[in-house]
Symmetry: C2
DNA sequence: TATTGTTATACTCTATAACTATA
DNA sequence: TATAGTTATAGAGTATAACAATA
């Protein structure tokens, strides 16, 4: 694997950083996807959706899920349909707006998600065990700046 | 967007880092994909393949491309077929092994890739302009440790 | 037998746009 | 009219496995 063979330019620092960021993310993501598949017969978007719901026990509306997962509404409908069919999440009516639903984990979904989350955390801890706690926090902080800058420029565009 | 709403656990640092890493990568990647689509009518895997070839002017064999791009061989065949059809890359025989090809950029492919690479670099510079040069290098170095650790454990498994 | 690369297949994820129902 | 959500469609990307040709 050598995604980082890509860049050569006059401002190579940002480019090198990007290629390395992409490489690292892909390494971890590939492993998470394959473990989710092997151990729990599920996918990353499904895991993500359930994770959002775990953090919001009262449930989230479809458009909230769409925004948080950074995908369009149709996709959320599809993933939600699968999870409903398996009894892991449910749609509940929102009172006062008969157009909207609130999606939330079922008790069974909670239980199952807890298992996955435990395993998931172990994979992630392993992925970053080459770093000290200080380094983990430093990385987190630096990436926070990247994210923040993105949100700032996003507002400019809008 | 709030991928980072996901984790809560007893070792939350690594998890928080991972979610932020994923968020940042997705933010940049989404933008790169859509710009490649809009401005050059191409995709990230196609761009990646051409980038690998630019760094290796003598060309790369299919299995080398597969390894470097972290995808299976069948996919590389598909992407290569597209690029050959558009005259951007070509397959040349490897002497001494009639099973293998070497894929390399055509002159037209070189020219076209240079245009894309210039635009691509500008997008990336913008994405990270919230960081100082020191911070960019620090981030690069920390991610290097993550990558290195991954490679080390990969060898253990093999 | 092992390796290089291709083909065939199936599935997930995605965006877009048209649509229904409600506000 | 605008909004919440769904449906339909098409396309990209991926892995798997069977296959042909060569080593």
């Amino acid at each position: 694997m050598d995604l980082e063979a890509r860049g050569h330019s006059e401002h190579p620092e940002a480019l090198r950083l990007w290629l390395r960021l992409l490489t690292c993310t892909q390494l971890v993501e590939k492993q998470v996807r394959s473990q989710l598949r092997e151990q729990f017969d599920t996918t990353l978007p499904r895991f993500d959706l359930m994770a959002q719901l775990q953090r919001n026990p009262d449930g989230l509306k479809m458009n909230e899920l769409s925004r948080r997962m950074m995908v369009t509404g149709g996709n959320v409908t599809g993933i939600t349909d699968q999870l409903v069919a398996e009894g892991l999440v449910e749609r509940v009516a929102v009172e006062g707006d008969r157009r909207a639903y609130r999606v939330r984990l079922t008790p069974h979904g909670c239980t199952q998600f807890d298992d996955m989350a435990r395993a998931h955390e172990a994979w992630i801890v392993t992925a970053f065990e080459g770093l000290s706690l200080r380094e983990v926090e430093s990385l987190h902080k630096l990436l926070g700046k990247v994210k923040q800058h993105y949100h700032a420029t996003e507002k400019e565009q809008a």
